[in-house]
């Protein structure tokens, strides 16, 4: 058994290397010709840290708002009864199917009329709307798993529905909150279409779009270009390596059923 285990370990390294190759290639190429000087060049010439900061601000604020509005809603859908409950939930489910790009045309109109172009909220507001449906579904499923008797016991002790939500269910919702945070953060960080459409000023651009100047400058200097790509990819990559389980659970949460 020990021998076959070792054999398997070695064999499975082959597909793993196939998957890892492009990323390794990225790192190795970024060090070509001038080594780490490439990174210094990118950092001083192109102010990538601005992009990172912008994406970070948008992503964090979006996550906070999503949590703030979907956790109470999850609670309500799970533990409270109100007219239209099922229909509203069905509408939310259907909203998940809508590709962001298919509502891009009116979205541009709305953002322009609200004068939000080149403003962080031009992205935050749509991102919140787009990420809320799945956050709600995950939140509700989680809350369904929490016993309703907790609330009954709290009410006997004099709590209202709201305070029992705040002091009992909310603290218990930490696992699902971290899952919601992870995929919302990732969706915001990686989102491309709206970031391209709404953030046109160079200083405001997101990590996912990388200024055109950047591409044009680096076109012949591939190692430097790759160094820039490594820099913008690094934050999420490091977060992933640190919080692997949360990442993988969070992103596949919707699919692991049946």
């Amino acid at each position: 058994m020990g021998k076959s285990k070792k054999l398997r370990s070695v064999l499975m390294a082959i597909p793993t290397l196939c998957f890892a190759f492009p990323l390794c290639f990225l790192f190795v190429t970024s060090l070509e010709k001038k080594g780490f000087a490439n990174y210094l060049f990118v950092l001083t010439e192109i102010r990538v840290e601005r992009n990172i900061m912008n994406s970070l601000i948008v992503a964090v604020i979006t996550v906070l708002i999503v949590l703030a509005i979907t956790l109470p809603a999850s609670f309500a859908f799970s533990k409270m009864k109100f007219p239209g409950q099922n229909i509203l939930f069905l509408i939310v489910l259907m909203a998940m199917m809508i590709p962001g790009i298919s509502i891009a045309v009116p979205m541009v109109k709305i953002i322009r009329s609200l004068n939000l172009v080149n403003n962080y909220f031009s992205l935050i507001l749509p991102y919140v709307a787009i990420n809320s449906p799945i956050a709600l579904i995950l939140g509700k499923n989680f809350m369904d798993g929490l016993s309703a008797e907790l609330m009954e016991a709290a009410k006997i002790d004099g709590c209202t529905t709201w305070t029992s939500f705040l002091h009992i269910y909310l603290p218990l919702a930490v696992p699902v909150s971290s899952i919601i945070s992870v995929f919302t953060f990732l969706n915001c960080w990686n989102e491309f279409v709206y970031a391209k459409l709404f953030m046109q000023k160079e200083a405001m651009q997101m990590v996912s779009t990388i200024p055109i100047k950047f591409q044009a400058d680096m076109y012949t200097n591939i190692p430097a270009l790759f160094a820039g790509l490594v820099i913008v990819q690094l934050p999420v990559l490091i977060l992933y390596l640190m919080f692997q389980n949360t990442f993988r659970e969070g992103l596949t949460a919707g699919a692991v059923k049946g």
Binding site: S102, A104, G258
Partner: protein, 289 residues
């Protein structure tokens, strides 16, 4: 426990539904509305044209090409991701530290930025200087050194390959989770009945994961419908519409040609299509249980 019907619940759901209404529902209805007009996106005036946009669209052969490409793309991506993902998950189902490391690595492409993926692959698969073609030529396999992005017959499959690379980690992780809760007595029972390894997998394990197959295929189908970033960055829909997808087609019409009425018609069709696909898949999965 009895739940009183209360209206205070509306306060809990109001903030979320406000966002929902303004930034999802309202744009959605507007997309449908704009599809009946002719508009360049800049003029304050729109020109009502009824179904003309739709008629023009159904006469545009690129529209059909985009959906045909999409069909090939979606089917191949979903099938390949599920098969490869399952195989990897199954082969690494036993407890093993190396397997944990491998799985962690295989998942990484799922979280990468589209920009990063596109630049890396554009370089790796460059016809003249890309490492793939250079290696093939060094091995005297010149005929295999294809023009991965510029050959209309190859481009779509290059795109499919890259998508599978970036998405298989997801399928694998889902199957891994399902397999850990898989009753091993069934595998043992099958072995006792004389099944060899392959039969055990195909006749016992795979069929029992039906629930996972369906959720995964629905999620993959929805992701496939949303595909835009990679296509746009890698090929822009070219060469000669070989990789045109409904989403790039719509984007071109909306933001390159400024025919936003037409683009909205395309969007409406995409949305209807998305709802149909999901509806059918959910029906199928509900029936088969």
């Amino acid at each position: 426990m009895k739940k009183k019907k209360s209206l205070s619940a509306y306060f809990y759901i109001l903030p979320m539904f406000l966002f929902f209404a303004f930034f999802l529902v309202y744009p959605l209805f507007n997309t449908i509305r704009i599809s009946f007009f002719e508009w360049n996106g800049i003029d304050p005036e729109m020109h009502f044209v009824g179904f003309q946009d739709y008629i023009d669209m159904f006469h545009d052969e690129i529209f059909y090409k985009a959906f045909a490409n999409f069909a090939i793309y979606a089917v191949l991506v979903i099938v390949l991701e599920m098969l490869i993902g399952f195989s990897l998950a199954y082969l690494m189902r036993r407890k093993n530290i190396m397997f944990n490391i491998y799985r962690a690595i295989i998942f990484i492409p799922v979280i990468l930025l589209p920009v990063v993926i596109s630049y890396v692959f554009t370089d790796i698969l460059a016809y003249n200087y890309g490492i793939v073609n250079e290696t093939l030529r060094a091995l005297h396999l010149d005929k295999l050194a294809l023009d991965w992005f510029a050959d209309p017959n190859v481009a779509l499959y290059t795109l499919i390959g890259i998508t599978v690379w970036s998405g298989t980690g997801f399928a694998m992780t889902v199957y891994s989770s399902s397999l850990t809760s898989f009753p091993s007595e069934l595998i043992d029972a099958a072995k006792v009945d004389g099944a060899n390894r392959i039969q055990t997998v195909t006749r016992v394990v795979w069929p029992l994961l039906k629930g996972t197959h369906f959720s995964l295929s629905i999620i993959s189908a929805i992701s496939a419908l949303k595909i835009f970033d990679l296509v746009f960055l890698l090929t822009g829909g070219g060469p000669f519409h070989a990789t045109e997808m409904p989403s790039t087609y719509m984007y071109d019409k909306a933001f390159t040609l400024y025919e936003q009425g037409f683009a909205s018609a395309v969007s409406t069709i995409i949305i209807i299509f998305a709802l149909l696909v999901t509806f059918i898949q959910t029906k199928l999965s509900a029936e088969k249980r």
